[in-house]
């Protein structure tokens, strides 16, 4: 039995169990031990993944898992993102009594689910990973169990998420019916040159695409996104808005590019993604304008951004997937800053989640205002920030396969989006502060957040580093 491909998963699973045990014996003032153990586990897992980076495709456990370079890269990104989430949210969690062992353990289990999803080579493995991730996230949203709003958000998330899982299973069962296998590479093989049962396959495909769209939060499967983002504690919003995006990309890649990437199916799902993308970019951006809650606004912005990811993905070749992956990466980097800024400005009893709470930030702290400015322009896709190259890649990918109209809608929607990102900049720079209390930030958060913000600019000036990484990783993946 070859355990090497799943070593990072083993590390995380062991760490999660260990922290669960250790935490029981810890008095409340020693909670930071569990916190640092979590960070340490992430570091080890990242090191293990980087050391064992696969330049060839390795299958494991009777082909139900696959380790390729894209999986390694996505896993490393997830580790880094979760680590940053923990750093940024430490003070917030502590102030709200959420700095507890179960928070860390649930986060690690969610991460484990994402890893399994990322390395899945079998419909059931993928489903298991997805469920492990989702269940942990539902519980995390409901961590403040006595508060009304988070509980409501968790309930919505759970009910709709369960529905989506059901839809996914149903779709998979139809594909199984048409091909006789659940293993992703075998599904692809059995579809080669066989258009004999398209109705059943297309039927299954519709369900699979719907489930993926739900997980991404693409319109019209987006209903849960604003409520959950707004209702969850901000630290958990930061988590949900960032780390799982990598897993969602893996899900797109494994299911659509991997299992259903053959010529017949490809044309079918390209059209579906185009419509999802069209709806997401327009509705997401337009509705975001009307929001007064920053978390809700960023939720609609996420919906719109997922539309751009789909726009890139429908390019359906290594360039298209690279575009989508790079877009996700740039989006996660930016989201870490934008949601992180809410955490940074919040304090005990003050959430800083209304748009007006950003008023006059430039006068309170020019540095944080500048970092947030970078994040906003990156989301708006204005160079020289990384967000621009994400847009460039996905537009190129759409135009290449002939979807020029979609690209034009995409840029017009981006223009609408620019309006509300500019409004944030306006509040920070042009208005006078209402609340002049000093901003206190932990030293490590300060450094990491600054580095994270400057990275938006740095990779905006030198985007090749990340673009090249995504391209190489995808070129080495199981499907090319």
């Amino acid at each position: 039995m070859n355990f090497q491909p799943v070593l990072p998963e083993i590390v995380i699973a062991t760490a999660a169990s260990l922290i669960l045990l250790v935490d029981v014996w810890m008095p409340d003032e020693k909670r930071h031990v569990s916190y640092w153990l979590t960070q340490f586990a992430l570091l080890i897992a990242a090191c293990v993944t980087v050391r064992g980076m696969h330049d060839e495709i390795v299958h494991a456990f009777h082909n139900v898992m696959v380790a390729d370079m894209v999986a390694d890269v996505l896993r490393v990104f997830s580790f880094i993102a979760l680590s940053l989430v923990l750093f940024y949210s430490r003070a917030y969690l502590a102030a709200r009594g959420l700095f507890r062992g179960e928070t860390f353990v649930l986060m690690l289990f969610a991460l484990l689910g994402m890893q399994v999803l990322i390395t899945a080579n079998h419909f059931l493995t993928l489903y298991l990973g997805l469920e492990l991730m989702s269940l942990s996230l539902y519980a995390l949203v409901a961590l403040q169990r006595d508060e009304r709003v988070p509980s409501e958000a968790a309930m919505k998330y759970f009910v709709l998420g369960a529905l989506a899982s059901g839809i996914l299973l149903y779709g998979m069962s139809m594909i199984y019916g048409a091909t006789g296998t659940l293993q992703i590479d075998l599904v692809a093989q059995s579809l080669v040159g066989k258009g004999d049962n398209p109705v059943l396959l297309v039927f299954g495909l519709v369900f699979v695409v719907s489930a993926i769209a739900f997980k991404l939060g693409a319109v019209p499967y987006h209903m849960w996104v604003p409520d959950v983002y707004q209702g969850a504690p901000t630290a958990i919003t930061l988590l949900i808005g960032t780390v799982p995006e990598f897993a969602a990309f893996a899900m797109l890649l494994r299911l659509l590019a991997g299992a259903l990437g053959g010529a017949e199916m490809l044309l079918q799902w390209q059209g579906m993604l185009a419509i999802l993308s069209l709806l997401s970019v327009t509705l997401g951006h337009v509705v975001a304008i009307a929001q007064t809650n920053l978390k809700r606004m960023l939720a609609y912005s996420t919906i719109a951004n997922m539309g751009y990811v789909l726009m890139g993905f429908l390019g359906a070749d290594v360039y298209g997937y690279t575009a989508a992956m790079f877009y996700i990466l740039s989006y996660v980097m930016t989201s870490l800053v934008s949601f992180g800024m809410i955490l940074l400005l919040s304090r005990d009893g003050f959430e800083a989640d209304r748009i007006d709470d950003l008023k006059g930030l430039n006068q309170r702290s020019p540095w944080w205002a500048f970092i947030m400015l970078l994040a906003m322009f990156s989301l708006a896709g204005v160079p020289p920030t990384i967000g621009f190259y994400g847009k460039l890649l996905v537009l190129q990918s759409a135009i290449k396969v002939g979807y020029v109209w979609l690209a034009i809608v995409g840029v017009l929607a981006a223009l609408i989006g620019a309006f509300y990102y500019l409004r944030i900049v306006k509040l920070m720079y042009f208005d006078d502060p209402v609340d002049r209390s000093p901003i206190e930030v932990r030293g490590d958060t300060q450094w990491l957040m600054s580095a994270n913000g400057l990275a938006l600019l740095l990779f905006g000036i030198l985007p090749q580093l990340l673009m090249g990484l995504c391209a190489v990783a995808l070129a080495q993946s199981a499907y090319f």
Partner: protein
């Protein structure tokens, strides 16, 4: 070989970052001096671009080409020809004046103000030097960010509306242009402009791309009827912002026509529909906007409309497809850079003293500020296109070219000489002449030494270009001739 162009781009940007890093709100003087040193250094490094410029060739000079994003064949590819080099010089020169002009007027967040102008100066130089479409786009868009902040933070009462309008108008155009860029990349496999010049395109494609490019550059110029952001932005912008906006950013729009639209889409441009369309819009800008300028009650709005009218001359000159027209348009761009900068600085001088730029608030300024009145007189004459000033050269050449093509076009264009004189001199009469209008005017102090030399420098530039335009025309001549030869070739 010294990378002069990179220096011209990066010296101001680095200086701007340094101002941000070192400057403190309490110690504004340090920020001012660093900014001035940075602007001066930024100007000095552009001088070799002129002195070492080879007049005999239209090929790109001072070329630097490095791999930037190999994944997409995007290069850090900069170079100048006789057309773009002038604007880099103009921009670096104007930046120096702007930093100097904001010396006393700006008292809040001085470091951020100075840094915004320096960074913008470098970015604008980048846009003029870029020979790779994506590099151009990055610079083209990046200049929106500092301008947005300049209008929004240091602007007048309605600044937020103006800043957002400015940003969104410009962004709309440039996003459509981005789609066109990607399409051209798809066709040619390269983002280098020189490759696109040779790329064959069908008439239909050329027309569609023309629409996308037009949306981007016509908004920037701005051409009627998408000019409405400019009169809103100017009165709200601080003096320095108005100067850069009028003197430089408008030129990037017109430059886009020369660098992108004409050579990439020659057949579409020469087609009677599009050429006619462009000439019509230009004439509407010249005549109709000239009348609109007459009706203004605010000095900055008046100069803004006058800018639109003058830029109409530029686009008119480009679409006459003759050497005179093209050179006239370019000379008009350079001249307008100096004259509009000077006029906005003059308004700034008054604004610093009285905090208004409404015409009716003044009257008889000549009584209390005689030196100032003399300067404004000269710049007003230049704005009206008086022979001997820079304003005359461009307008004369364009009208000359127009006469050869069609008498009525020339006739309408020549109306601008009358209209320009009317609105400028009438404004001059109402503000400067007459009895002292009110107690505020009576209390005005004449120019101080800094202001005197600031405006004096511009007087020299305006007169030099008016009396002896040869050095400017020589620089652009070969490039213009070759550009027109290129446009005359079909790419179908």
């Amino acid at each position: 070989m010294t990378p002069y162009l990179s220096l011209a781009i990066w010296v101001p940007i680095v200086a701007g970052v340094a101002v941000l890093a070192i400057g403190r709100d309490r110690d504004a003087m340090t920020a001012r001096w660093i900014a001035l040193a940075g602007a001066l250094a930024g100007f000095l490094v552009t001088i070799p671009l002129y002195t070492r410029f080879d007049l005999a060739t239209s090929a790109l000079q001072f070329v630097e080409r490095r791999n930037w994003i190999p994944y997409f064949d995007i290069y850090y590819y900069v170079g100048v020809d006789g057309i773009s080099v002038l604007f880099i010089l103009l921009n670096s020169f104007i930046t120096l004046l702007v930093v100097w002009a904001g010396w006393q007027a700006i008292t809040v967040r001085v470091a951020q103000y100075m840094a915004a102008f320096l960074i913008m100066s470098g970015v604008i130089n980048g846009a003029f030097a870029a020979q790779d479409a994506i590099l151009f786009y990055v610079f083209f868009e990046a200049m929106l960010i500092p301008m947005y902040l300049i209008i929004g933070i240091w602007g007048g009462p309605n600044r937020v509306y103006a800043a957002v309008k400015f940003f969104l108008y410009t962004l709309l155009g440039s996003l459509l242009m981005l789609v066109a860029f990607i399409y051209l990349y798809q066709k040619s496999g390269s983002f280098a402009l020189l490759d696109w010049y040779e790329l064959p395109l069908t008439m239909k494609t050329q027309t569609l791309i023309f629409i996308a490019f037009f949306a981007s550059f016509a908004v920037k110029v701005p051409m009627w009827p998408i000019h409405t952001w400019l009169p809103d932005a100017h009165p709200e912008a601080p003096t320095g912002g108005s100067v850069v906006l009028a003197a430089i950013t408008l030129k990037i729009g017109a430059y886009g026509f020369v660098r992108f639209i004409l050579p990439i889409l020659p057949d579409a441009c020469r087609s009677p529909q599009i050429a006619g369309f462009m000439i019509t819009l230009s004439l509407i800008a010249v005549v109709y906007i000239g009348f609109v300028a007459l009706a203004q009650t605010d000095m900055k709005r008046l100069i803004a409309y006058s800018s639109i009218s003058h830029m109409g001359f530029v686009t008119l000159g480009f679409f006459l497809f003759s050497v005179q027209g093209m050179e006239g348009g370019l000379a008009q761009m350079v001249s307008h850079g100096f004259v509009s900068a000077a006029l906005f600085l003059c308004v700034g001088v008054l604004y610093d003293r009285m905090h208004t730029h409404v015409i009716a608030d003044f009257g008889g300024v000549a009584n209390t500020m005689p030196k100032f009145a003399a300067f404004v007189m000269l710049f007003s004459m230049a704005n009206a296109g008086l022979p001997g000033t820079s304003g005359f050269v461009g307008e004369f050449l364009v009208i000359l070219a127009a006469v050869k093509l069609n008498f009525w076009i020339a006739f309408l264009a020549a109306l601008s000489l009358i209209l320009g004189a009317a609105y400028t001199l009438w404004m001059y009469k109402r503000v400067i002449y007459g009895g002292v209008g009110n107690a505020h005017v009576a209390a005005l102090a004449d120019l101080n030494r800094r202001e005197f030399w600031l405006l004096g420098t511009l007087v020299a530039a305006v007169l030099l270009l008016g009396v002896w335009p040869k050095p400017f025309i020589d620089v652009m001549h070969v490039s213009v001739t070759d550009l027109l030869a290129h446009v005359a070739r079909s790419k179908l």
